[in-house]
Symmetry: C2
Subunit: 183 residues, 2 copies
């Protein structure tokens, strides 16, 4: 695969953030010429397809500053240092929805924007949800509204673009596929 690989000539760290770091790199292309790459480093994240007993998806509505708008998404959050993705999934489920569970099953992991970022999202299916007696606390800069949606309601929110992100679109389609397969 050597004919496709890019080699780093120089790498400059432009920004060191709370969530992301930005690097500007000079690379040698497979044909020997040079180009530049703009690269975001991200700690990785989890997302949770949380199903209630009556087969509703637990979702959170929150403001997303990058788009300056509200989005309805499946619960998700960044990995903390040293945390296993399944622990992050349980913690984020508790913090964002007030539910907890020991039934977390890894479904898939994927890079969200491989053209410029290394963010890897681990997707879990959470079942056997229990309401927490004492609600876990959100991060102090996080504000969300919890919703519970049938698949049909979620599909309607995809149509109206209230649900409008890749992981949530994947999650809804995942449940459609399970249902179509009679699972």
């Amino acid at each position: 695969m050597k004919h496709l690989v890019e080699k780093t000539i120089e790498s400059e760290k432009i920004f060191n953030g709370r969530v992301i770091d930005l690097y500007h790199e000079k690379v040698e292309l497979p044909n020997g010429k040079t180009s530049t790459r703009e690269i975001i480093k991200h700690p990785g994240a989890v997302a949770i397809i949380a199903l209630t007993e009556d087969h509703k998806m637990v979702m959170v509505k929150q403001y997303r500053k990058a788009m300056e708008r509200l989005l309805v998404e499946i619960p998700a959050g960044k990995l903390e240092k040293g945390e296993e993705p399944i622990e992050t999934a349980k913690r984020e489920l508790e913090e964002e929805t007030g539910y907890t569970t020991d039934q977390l099953q890894h479904i898939i992991s994927f890079y969200t924007s491989p053209g410029f970022a290394d963010e890897l999202v681990h997707v879990y299916l959470a079942t056997d949800l229990k309401v927490m007696e004492t609600k876990a606390e959100l991060d102090e800069d996080e504000f969300v509204e919890v919703m519970e949606l049938t698949i049909d309601e979620a599909l309607e929110l995809i149509r109206t673009k209230e649900i409008y992100d890749a992981k949530t679109a994947y999650a809804v389609q995942y449940l459609q596929l399970r249902s179509a397969l009679g699972e």
Copy 2:
């Protein structure tokens, strides 16, 4: 929804790139406190689920510098200034795969990383593919290898993590669902 909205207090442009721009913002939270947001602005992109006559998915293998590895993905590319997404889809299909078509159907659009980026990907289904007599040229810093995979082969590459990104995982699941529904 006012109780969820964040207001911009200050916005500083940290980096102005070829592909992405980075902003560092100070925001007022719904509770009146302040926090910071790190935001990537991206021009948007398209991705193409391209199906051959014998129901194979056309994919491209390419080096992704952010992960320092090869990934197998559905064809995709950034919107050029003033370009309609459907034109971008046709152009990227031609440049990356050597196929062309007039049958491009919009399937869904989604934000890839709403927590820190405004990248919106428009997904198209391309059918009635024709081999181009004169192959369109790739961007001068792009090197790809074209593959044609059955759904089962694509699922195997998801298992081995050669396919490892959200839009391609969505695309494979989309075809699984169509098949399960007998479409």
